[in-house]
Point group: C2
Chain length 174, copies 2
């Protein structure tokens, strides 16, 4: 039995698809997922960075995100063998906390509220593993970081990387 | 330098005064702080427990709480010597997360969002100390629990108890 903490955005919640849809609509652009390989949207359009942040930091953005493929079935299985927490750096988007909790309760009803953490600095989390798409969260984390592949981290070199929820199942459900 | 996690309700936020005011108004009662020594409001009025929970679980309740005496000045001093986190079991009141963050940003602007944690089970927090009015949070916590006196815990026997923010200052700022 391990304690496994799992990030939300781009790991279980399809953040980037909604971001592209809203960005293209609001700024009359036509970008796709391919344009965001190795780079964040704000870095691709630095002059629009503040407006992109504002576009994201709202209740409706997080309330309507899709679910990452196979995350529900794999995480439900993980909970039978491990203690699973969902850990989101939710304080980055201060108007979306209620929406994020509501999204979790709807899409991951088998995760109890006792096992949900909204935080800033994830080094405060006392877990054995942290599955996250942002490697900077691993720097001070006392457990083992596992990088979940996302477009923005494709060029980041990291030895412990998973590319899908099948990879996670293989790691923890053998 | 220690890592100190500090609870919100009844420790830095004056939860109970607002609860009494709203309860007396909504249910035409006339209770005071003295009636809640050693007991929670829901236990005093079990038939109204669900309605009391509903009364609390709203945005406006948490947005308007008072600040506990001397908590601001002492915590601001603590941050000069220690790493301070605010850790609230906020998932208990799922419609109040945005309001709680807004309250913290307004009343404790020297606490960065990176150092705020909303969670359920506080055993997940990797800190040296947890200052809390609910001793059940200490059971699986790996650091040292410090009980902050509140009316409901007055009869609970616990060796490490602080009665005010002056006591906390004495413990950590010598």
């Amino acid at each position: 039995m391990s304690i496994i903490a799992i990030d939300m955005d781009e790991v279980i919640a399809d953040f980037i698809s909604e971001q592209i849809i809203r960005f293209n609509k609001q700024f009359s652009k036509n970008i796709s997922l391919l344009d965001l390989q190795g780079v964040k949207l704000q870095a691709l359009y630095p002059s629009l960075a503040d407006e992109i942040d504002e576009m994201i930091n709202c209740d409706s953005f997080f309330r309507n995100l899709g679910v990452m493929p196979n995350s529900q079935s794999v995480i439900e299985k993980l909970t039978t063998k491990h203690e699973v927490y969902i850990a989101s750096a939710a304080m980055d988007h201060s108007n979306s906390l209620d929406a994020k909790l509501s999204w979790l309760n709807k899409n991951f009803p088998f995760i109890k509220n006792s096992n949900i953490i909204f935080c800033g600095d994830k080094s405060i989390i006392n877990a054995d593993y942290l599955i996250d798409d942002h490697p900077h969260h691993f720097e001070r984390f006392t457990g083992m970081g596992i990088l979940f592949s996302a477009p923005h981290n494709m060029n980041f070199e990291y030895s412990r990387r998973v590319k899908s929820w099948f990879d996670v199942a293989n790691l923890f459900m053998r």
